[in-house]
Symmetry: C2
Subunit: 191 residues, 2 copies
């Protein structure tokens, strides 16, 4: 076996086409969530990953990065949509700290509430607002394991100065998870 010296996570080609068609700004929070849900839907349709999408933006809606789940396709168990979107935002802005951009922290919108890993990643990223679509219950009904998250997770983020909005366009977001299950696609949590 050859050891690896680097790893790369890449958006699928259709994301480039979709990004090129986006306006520079999406001022409405619900419309940014609609984009995250659209990413989760397309990712399943195009068979490029699991049913999860995420968007990083400024508070006034400038789109900094998009992300989709790439676990199976890029063979990386931590390539959840949130980690992909945050990392691509940091790559584009040349900083690991999204709290220091234009004087205001950025927003992460995700089509589904973060799992334990992504929840832990959010404070390290510097984002100041988290917007969630489908709930943990929706994810778990589909068979996805969200990991051990404190019941108190919203308050935990708020204590760190991160604003949290949950169940934004929840029905649309949960529908994508439901459809994914109906297709009989992989639920890729080991164990």
């Amino acid at each position: 076996m050859n050891r690896s010296r680097e790893f790369t996570i890449t958006l699928p080609a259709w994301c480039g086409t979709l990004e090129a068609s986006l306006p520079e700004r999406i001022p409405d929070r619900d419309e940014r969530m609609r984009l995250a849900v659209e990413l989760s839907r397309r990712n399943v349709e195009e068979a490029t990953g699991g049913p999860f999408g995420a968007v990083v933006s400024t508070r006034d809606g400038r789109i900094v990065s998009i992300g989709v789940n790439r676990v199976e396709t890029d063979r990386c168990s931590s390539a959840h949509a949130e980690i992909v979107a945050l990392s691509l935002g940091q790559a584009a802005l040349h900083t690991w700290n999204l709290a220091e951009v234009d004087g205001a922290p950025l927003e992460l919108a995700t089509s589904c509430e973060p799992c334990a890993m992504c929840l832990g990643a959010i404070p390290w990223s510097g984002v100041g607002r988290l917007v969630c679509g489908a709930s943990k219950r929706d994810a778990e009904a589909t068979g996805f394991d969200e990991g051990e998250r404190s019941a108190d997770w919203v308050a935990m983020l708020e204590r760190r100065g991160i604003e949290v909005h949950t169940e934004v366009l929840r029905a649309e977001a949960a529908r994508i998870l439901h459809d994914y299950r109906e297709r009989g696609a992989t639920i890729y949590n080991p164990g």
Copy 2:
């Protein structure tokens, strides 16, 4: 601003030299931890990242991948040593699931107990054993924020079938964190 379509995390050059000098197998668990601690030490000395190192291996000690913290250097807040080592192991083995390798799950040895993000990442990676050096208290004494981890985290992993060994070579591992603090280097948690 140009949006990014991919991001890459890379080991520093000295890791290649070090890897070339490693035996194929390190059968002793404490010696694998010694390697993780050596990685954390060299990463500070070479100014290539924070004071954290990790090693992924088979149960009989075949070294699959190594990782060091690359948060500042690769401008990626999730590039902790554990995530880097797990992702490089998955890249080398062409699978996101380290539970399916040679019929036995792999081991992750980390110079410091995982933060909330890395703790959440461990079950998704498929590893079957976690070996930790320095404790959360050692990390926090240095000024690093480990995030919101349940006090019950060892039992949580064990319930998922993951064996946990803590405080292995703790004094050596904690010493690197202490020295890092003495140098007045960056403690890179936002907020």
